[in-house]
Symmetry: C2
Subunit: 121 residues, 2 copies
């Protein structure tokens, strides 16, 4: 089991030099061994309740890799109305409490913020 010190900063995507104006998409990959899917999902589901209630949260899709050998077997893709909304949701005391709770140290995550550059279909 990987044990990593969990901090509020480590669970938040790096920002842009100047905040982007439009909507942003978070992609957050999680390292989860296949026999721990149930524990991961229970923890993620509780944690996501917090985000879903924040101003500027738009939508999310939680993905699971079809192959067991992916590094990040679970990836959350979440849309936010703006980078400022994303930042505000990750700067609260409740966020700090949620992501430093027991359990998360087992599942390292790799959050990155994107803009949608182009879309088809």
């Amino acid at each position: 089991m990987t044990m990593t010190a969990i901090t509020q900063e480590g669970r938040t995507a790096t920002g842009s030099a100047t905040q982007v104006a439009g909507p942003v998409t978070l992609m957050n990959g999680f390292v989860v061994s296949p026999d721990r899917d149930e524990a991961f999902y229970a923890l993620w589901s509780r944690t996501s309740q917090y985000f879903r209630a924040q101003p500027g949260f738009v939508s999310l899709r939680l993905h699971r890799a079809i192959s067991p050998d992916a590094t990040h077997r679970w990836v959350n893709v979440a849309n936010w109305a703006s980078e400022a909304d994303y930042r505000a949701a990750h700067a609260t005391e409740e966020f700090r409490r949620v992501v430093t709770q027991d359990g998360w140290q087992e599942f390292p995550s790799s959050p990155t913020l994107f803009e949608v550059h182009s879309a088809v279909g």
Copy 2:
């Protein structure tokens, strides 16, 4: 500049032990240095013409990281009707020709197939 041998297999996501039945989502991250965005997008755009014409292609969103220090600064998230459709599109001679063309060796990619586990909004 990173030079990597480009093969049809290296540009295709690892499969599941038994093919999954429903829709699948490809996430394909690309290593692109910030000063090469234009060259990358020109190549990606030409290549995506092939995929968009294949049976079972549903939609895609091409994302660019808002921070220059992301490992995979560009990520394509593409929905396919089934894993079989995704596999078929990656098994053709035209696919081999498209991904082994000059230019792609500059942009290593990391393709992974997922199922959507849960969605909100």
